[in-house]
């Protein structure tokens, strides 16, 4: 693994400057390091400089105005252990607990996961179902981007030079569910995953799938079919079937396209049932 210079800025301005000022190898931001360090070992990333975000004031969990804002460098473990988050965003906690292992989650962060935007990311589908927004800071100022637009494809996000993700904002709490299909239940990557959420203010469902190249996506068709409240079993069945048809799965060595389509239908139906059963679902 090639050597690099590690910089540990104390302020956001220093961080942005450090990301901009760099030689031919470029600079990478370091949050939890669980993706970056693997990439460094694989030779996928060869930055000249690594900018640690650990001193920045972003290890936060904020409920201002009833909206949850999670600082981008908050370790996932802190997020999953917050009882308010578990109550108001059950799908989010289910997804966080699906990531790697407890030890990994002591370091891994929401921001890092979003920027890495892996096709099988466990967090991105849930974030999509919650209409999460990404707060960015940059040399040209701050901006807020819906996650769905922020992520372009695997390892490609809408981050301009010198920009950093400061936080992820959840506009409203939603009854939600995250279900996955994997080879083994722990410490694994999902072949197929679904995130369902119901917006109590918008009276609308969100259906997102993971394990889809090049990135997890929202499925508008099944979401529309599910309607504006609690759908009956026949509606759920049709929405699940439609999800199986709409989701852009492919065959890879982890699973075939056929299997994924079949499985995603089963998971959508179950996830709807799980959402309907959450105490927070509007009656």
């Amino acid at each position: 693994m090639a050597p690099f210079e590690l910089v540990v800025p104390s302020t956001v301005e220093e961080a942005m400057a450090a990301l901009r000022t760099s030689g031919p190898g470029g600079a990478s931001a370091l949050a939890g390091g669980t993706d970056l360090l693997n990439d460094l070992d694989d030779g996928r990333a060869r930055p000249q400089r690594v900018v640690s975000l650990r001193r920045l004031p972003w290890r936060t969990l904020d409920w201002t105005g009833g909206q949850l804002t999670v600082g981008s460098t908050l370790p996932l473990r802190a997020l999953e252990q917050d009882p308010e988050v578990a109550r108001r965003f059950p799908g989010l906690v289910q997804a966080v607990r699906a990531v790697g292992s407890v030890a990994l989650r002591h370091c891994a962060t929401l921001g890092g996961n979003v920027v890495r935007s892996a096709p099988a990311s466990d967090l991105v589908p849930v974030l999509l179902s919650l209409d999460a927004e990404v707060d960015l800071v940059g040399p040209r100022g701050d901006r807020r981007v819906p996650l769905d637009r922020f992520i372009r494809s695997s390892r490609r996000v809408d981050l301009a030079e010198g920009e950093l993700v400061r936080s992820i904002r959840f506009p409203e709490a939603r009854p939600s569910s995250y279900l996955w299909q994997r080879v083994r239940p722990a410490n694994d990557i999902s072949q197929v995953a679904v995130a369902l959420a119901f917006s109590p203010t918008g009276h609308a469902w969100r259906v997102a799938v993971g394990g889809v190249p090049p990135r997890p996506v929202l499925l508008p068709g099944p979401a529309r079919l599910l309607g504006s409240g609690a759908p009956g079993p026949e509606v759920v069945r049709r929405a699940a079937a439609l999800a199986g048809e709409e989701a852009p799965f492919v065959t890879d060595r982890r699973a075939s396209e056929e299997y994924r389509r079949r499985t995603v239908s089963a998971l959508v139906a179950r996830a709807v049932a799980a959402v309907l059963e959450t105490p927070e679902f509007p009656r």
């Binding site: 080879v183 083994r184 694994d188 060595r253 982890r254 056929e258 299997y259 079949r262 499985t263």
Partner: protein, 737 residues
């Protein structure tokens, strides 16, 4: 015999304080770090390998094929297994050269600086590319066939033509890796004509012997010292890195550490490769009349004539079932992968899966109860095996009875949607040549002087003292195990094949008898003594006399550290009925042990996911030497078997590259996937080991995939004919796709 309890391990303290040094921990001042230069293709002609750029880097030593004559006193000897290929590379990542440098980063960089020019050749990546159809006559002569075995007995054609019913099926099993948590690692030094290597290995003497051939150096100038081993499971038998580390040490004049990264561990591992089996069974009146088995086994680049797997494993495809009329034929097929190597119970779990699934299917097709049908044919003592061995005391029948009782009870208790399956398997213990030990008796303790390291199973640090304690009548706490390297230790073939307690145990018995005989003579000129312990001292008694051992030692013995007796055990080779062999070399099984397992599973009917809810294992163990260690072996073997059954599969691309090297994409079971395992041992069917013990290292793996597969079938009707039973395969078998 039931209720084995927990017991502290003698190596617990050192390991729980992080003080045990494994191969990966070896570290001496001035050592260099080694790295291998891997072939970039699976098959090709070598045009050039240029080490000059690597050698130009500061502190770098590089060795390649053209250096061997210079470095080795008599030149490289083994033409069939060249350390570095000269003409042709034959598998992906095959080492083409090796480098050493002061740090790992520099070694990796130096390896990258080696310029390799290889012209690609067509790649044989799997069985189907060699034999898209089943091999016809004459296929045995194909250059792609490393070995051909063929045996038959009885009027096979006649029985098939007369049978009420013939059932034919094809099964496929995947490649699985040992996945010891510790990758291969060693540290080598060459000084004053002595080739010294410390290594994580199951077979120090085997490594020495092999190194002598590979390096063309006399065994007497090679010293192998084993370290603590972080798991072996068959993968740390033959030398892998040691020759390269020694070459680099010789070339650089420095100690060289060479270890594999975890991806390399998969890429270079010698292990179980894919198999395709065709099973045909002729049934009349609820009885098997005849069987035909055809095996295509991918053996990677195993050399013709050096395939150990085909003739060894094919017998397991007939199972522990009385089969008078049969034909078995196996082809060891060469592909561009590393050579087939031993895994724990090589291919036996896969074979048991095939046999049990097939006979279960045959029974169902014939309208028979599947468990009853199989039970009807299980070997009993005195039966003749298909290849002509006589089955000795064999407890599988009794184990199967216990398993069936358990299965019946679980079926009553199980929620709807669950299924219960019973799978059996057998194993032939006592493989490998044999071993020696020395027992040293002092005033207060017995020391077992021997040449094996504890690889984890407890066979060395728990099993051997247990045998010595029992043979001599002293408490276990009075027995100590000493390890020394190949230059001074008594010879032993190695810790593999479930043979350690059996073979070394018998040697300990022999040495014990000698000690007791001598003590008896010294005491009363009579019968062999008995020993006991009192207040930390050992006392010997014979013919009404008793004395402290201290008083019975001669002055010379007191000076030299005690009374020493040697023991040796080399088991007799098995026998085959050669009349039944048409072609090739079969391995003669002996000292049979059996096991019957019960699995209860639930199957997700929509996704095909299988969850193992309950598990029980009944083992024909001969005699239990140490209950806690025996139980631990079964628990560990079952978990490993569950991996083979459900999640483990090494996937090779058409380019002969391993697609899922590494622990993220090759999945071994995690803690949450293994249910509690009820373990019970059946004693009373003695084997060839001390006090009638039978080996236990490998049998616990064997019936696992079978029991799980049959449970899955009962749970949801899915009849899977492939391993592993991934959710997708079960979904297909359920016709969901």
């Amino acid at each position: 015999m039931t209720t084995p309890t927990s017991r502290s391990r003698p190596d617990g303290e050192v390991k729980l304080h992080g003080a045990a040094l494994y191969g990966t921990d070896l570290d001496v001042p001035g050592m260099l770090w080694g790295a291998l230069v891997p072939s970039p293709v699976a098959h090709g002609t070598i045009r050039s390998i240029d080490l000059s750029a690597a050698r130009a880097l500061p502190g770098v030593t590089a060795v390649g094929a053209e250096d061997l004559d210079r470095l080795l006193p008599f030149g490289a000897r083994d033409e069939e297994r060249p350390l570095f290929p000269r003409g042709e590379v034959i598998y992906h990542h095959q080492p083409l050269a090796a480098v050493a440098a002061p740090t790992l980063a520099e070694a990796v960089r130096a390896a990258r600086e080696v310029r390799v020019a290889v012209d690609p050749l067509p790649i044989v990546s799997d069985l189907e590319s060699v034999f898209p159809e089943w091999p016809g006559s004459g296929a045995a002569n194909s250059p792609h066939v490393a070995a051909h075995v063929h045996a038959r007995h009885g009027d096979v054609e006649g029985e098939f033509s007369r049978a009420d019913r013939v059932v034919q099926e094809v099964y496929r099993t995947a490649s699985v890796h040992q996945v010891a948590l510790e990758p291969h690692a060693c540290l080598a030094e060459v000084q004053d004509g002595r080739w010294y290597v410390r290594t994580s290995t199951q077979t120090p003497f085997g490594v020495r012997e092999d190194l002598a051939v590979l390096l063309g150096v006399p065994e007497s100038s090679i010293v192998v010292r084993g370290t603590w081993v972080g798991g072996g499971f068959g993968g740390k038998g033959a030398p892998l890195l040691e020759p390269y580390a020694l070459l680099l040490a010789r070339a650089s004049g420095r100690p060289v550490r060479l270890a594999l990264g975890y991806r390399e561990e998969f890429q270079l591992g010698r292990t179980t490769l894919p198999a395709v089996v065709r099973m045909e069974t002729a049934v009349t009146g609820g009885r098997i009349r005849a069987r035909r088995v055809r095996l295509l086994l991918d053996v990677g680049t195993s050399l013709p004539g050096r395939d150990f797997a085909t003739g060894y494993s094919i017998g397991f495809l007939l199972g522990p079932y009385a089969t008078a009329t049969f034909e078995i034929e196996g082809y060891a097929v060469r592909t561009n992968k590393p050579p087939f190597g031993p895994h724990r119970a090589p291919l036996a779990p896969q074979c048991a899966f095939v046999v049990e699934s097939h006979l279960d299917h045959v029974a169902r097709e014939s309208g028979e109860d599947p468990e009853e049908f199989r039970a009807r044919h299980i070997w009993t003592e005195g039966d003749t095996t298909p290849l002509g061995q006589t089955v000795g005391p064999f407890g599988l029948g009794a184990a199967l009875e216990r398993a069936r009782e358990t299965a019946k009870r679980w079926r009553r208790e199980a929620p709807p949607g669950h299924g219960v399956g019973v799978g059996v398997g057998f194993w032939s213990t006592s493989t490998g040549a044999g071993g020696e030990v020395r027992l040293r008796l002092t005033a207060s303790e017995v020391v077992i002087e021997q040449g094996e390291r504890e690889i984890g199973s407890g066979s060395v640090l728990v099993g051997l003292p247990a045998v010595a304690a029992r043979s001599l009548g002293v408490p276990r706490e009075r027995v100590r195990v000493d390890y020394s390297d190949t230059s001074t230790a008594p010879f032993d073939s190695g810790v593999f094949g479930s043979r350690t307690v059996g073979a070394m145990g018998r040697a300990i018995e022999e040495a014990s008898l000698q000690l007791l005989a001598v003590l008896g003579k010294r005491l009363a000129g009579g019968a062999p003594a008995t020993l006991r312990e009192a207040d930390g001292r050992l006392l010997a008694a014979s013919g009404g006399h008793e004395a402290p051992v201290a008083d019975l030692l001669t002055p010379e013995e007191r000076t030299t550290g005690g009374m020493v007796a040697g023991g040796r055990h080399f088991g007799p080779p098995g026998t085959l009925d050669e009349h039944r062999v048409v072609d090739g070399t079969f391995y003669a099984y002996r000292d049979f042990t059996g096991a019957a397992h019960v699995a209860e599973v639930s199957v997700d009917r929509e996704t095909g996911s299988v969850r193992v809810e309950r598990y029980a294992a009944f083992h024909d163990i001969g005699v239990v030497i140490d209950p806690a260690a025996a139980r631990a072996q079964v628990e560990g073997g079952v978990a490993m078997g569950l991996g083979t059954a459900l999640t483990e599969e090494a996937i090779w691309s058409d380019a002969g590259e391993l697609e899922n090297a590494g622990l993220k994409d090759y999945r071994i079971p995690t803690l949450g996937e293994v249910p509690p395992v009820e373990v019970d041992f059946l004693e009373g069917f003695p084997g060839a080991g001390p006090f009638g013990a039978k080996g236990l290292g490998e049998p616990p793996m064997i019936p696992v995939p079978a029991a799980v597969a049959l449970a899955v079938r009962e749970a949801c009707g899915a009849h899977a004919t492939e391993l592993p039973l991934s959710a997708e395969r079960v979904a297909r078998a359920l016709k969901l796709l």
